[in-house]
């Protein structure tokens, strides 16, 4: 029997990143919870679809508020993100905003470009692997910090800083600079 090394980041890694962000030393765009848990967490779908390995729902416009340099997601109006392990697209084509927002673990979110850097196809979130995977034939895989895990993509995904505050996600519209 071959080895079964887990490819998934451990819970300790995720929490360590969250603490690092809280202390201003973040190395990845995961947002940590500073405020209370939004009530939407108890409404699994509200009649709207949840993400699967193939399909990612779009956030409704009514949960989004755009500011000059950030977009705010009202989690109370975003049941797609209520459950940890789900993801949703955040799209505003007029503003050229095309992101995928992932609720990684309870209170921890990340936001990245939703297009594969290989050929521009859309990504979906594979919850069991904690990876973003292209839905196209070659299915490039990306870590949640945007780094390529498996090609043929070679360029990392743009990631956006996320802050969680009082039931709101604040996502910077400008991508984070990569080291």
């Amino acid at each position: 029997m071959s080895s079964t090394r887990s490819p998934f980041p451990s819970r300790r890694d995720i929490l360590r990143a969250a603490v690092a962000i809280a202390t201003g030393a973040g190395l990845c765009p995961l947002g940590n919870a500073l405020g209370g848990v939004p009530s939407a967490r108890d409404r699994v779908s509200g009649g709207r679809s949840l993400s699967t390995n193939c399909d990612t729902p779009d956030l409704d416009r009514d949960c989004l508020t755009f500011h000059e340099e950030r977009v705010v997601v009202d989690l109370a109006k975003a049941p797609e993100l209520a459950v940890a392990g789900n993801a949703a697209n955040l799209i505003d084509r007029r503003r050229s905003v095309e992101l995928i927002v992932v609720h990684v673990e309870e209170g921890i979110y990340c936001a990245l470009s939703r297009f594969c850097t290989h050929a521009g196809r859309t990504l979906a979130y594979i919850r069991s692997r904690k990876l973003l995977q292209c839905t196209n034939f070659n299915h490039s895989c990306f870590e949640l910090d945007g780094n390529v895990r498996k090609g043929p993509a070679e360029v990392p995904l743009a990631s956006h800083r996320v802050r969680v505050r009082d039931g709101l996600l604040e996502i910077d519209l400008k991508p984070e600079a990569r080291p």
Partner: protein, 258 residues
């Protein structure tokens, strides 16, 4: 008596494969790697008509052949590698992931992946078998049916491992229902290298990474498994995927009667 018994044994062991059965679903086990081969009967493969009005013709198989009941497994490939000292092209290239560590949990019963066409050829030569042509593969996969898939026109999770029900890795072979001729995982699990033309191979059959239905960039819905199951022959040379190996690409073997 001893000589008579020996003579009978000699005849039995040396009997051509054809004497072992001609009916669809008859089986033969390869002593080299333990793979069970299933009899694919003679018959005709009706190819689809392409958009340029080519195709739409029939390929006739005057005689049947034997095809691996499943994709070659990790365990079988391991025996090959141990017996020959073979390293795959991905291993020699220093690829991050290989057939021994494909970045998802696997057992010896999973289909081997991260194998190139050359890796598959080397294995087949060791096992005394070959890679199928695209036409042979399509004939075997269709199993005499005319529907989109051998079970019907819609995805049926009882028959296929795809991204919707196996999204985090391949699955052990033969854990979905077989086609009418007894072949497992012709659709899904891992795609399989077939020979399209001299020097040209392509993967067919779809895999665990393929969505049963998904939206493209501009919202268009893509048909299940794209063209991997289309009953038409690939161009020569085929348009190859981006990698010579991948985590969803394996192979199965064929034994032809000479």
């Amino acid at each position: 008596m001893t000589k008579a018994v020996a003579l009978v044994l000699l005849i039995g062991l040396g009997a051509p494969l054809a004497a072992r059965g001609q009916a669809a679903g008859d089986t033969w086990q390869n002593p080299q790697d333990g793979m069970v081969f299933v009899r694919v009967p003679a018959g005709a493969l009706l190819l689809e008509t392409a958009s340029d009005d080519t195709g739409g013709h029939t390929i006739t198989f005057a005689q049947g052949f034997w095809m691996g009941r499943t994709e070659v497994t990790v365990g079988q490939f391991r025996r090959f590698a141990a017996a020959t000292g073979y390293s795959t092209e991905a291993e020699r290239a220093g690829n991050r992931f290989t057939w021994q560590d494909p970045d998802f949990p696997q057992t010896d019963e999973h289909p081997v992946v991260y194998v190139s066409v050359e890796d598959a050829r080397r294995y087949a030569a060791w096992a005394g078998v070959e890679l199928p042509t695209e036409a042979e593969w399509l004939h075997a996969a269709g199993a005499g049916t005319t529907s989109r898939f051998h079970w019907g026109d819609e995805i049926d999770d009882r028959y296929v491992w795809h991204r919707g029900n196996a999204g985090d890795g391949s699955r052990p072979v033969a854990t979905r229902r077989p086609n009418p001729w007894g072949l497992h995982d012709m659709v899904g699990n891992v795609s399989e290298w077939v020979t399209v033309c001299e020097g040209g191979q392509a993967p067919r059959g779809g895999s665990w990474t393929r969505c049963p239905r998904y939206r493209h960039l501009h919202g268009g819905v893509v048909e299940p498994f794209n063209n991997e199951l289309a009953r038409r022959l690939s161009p020569c040379p085929p348009v190859l995927p981006g990698y010579p190996w991948d985590d969803d690409r394996g192979f199965r073997c064929i034994r032809r009667e000479r």
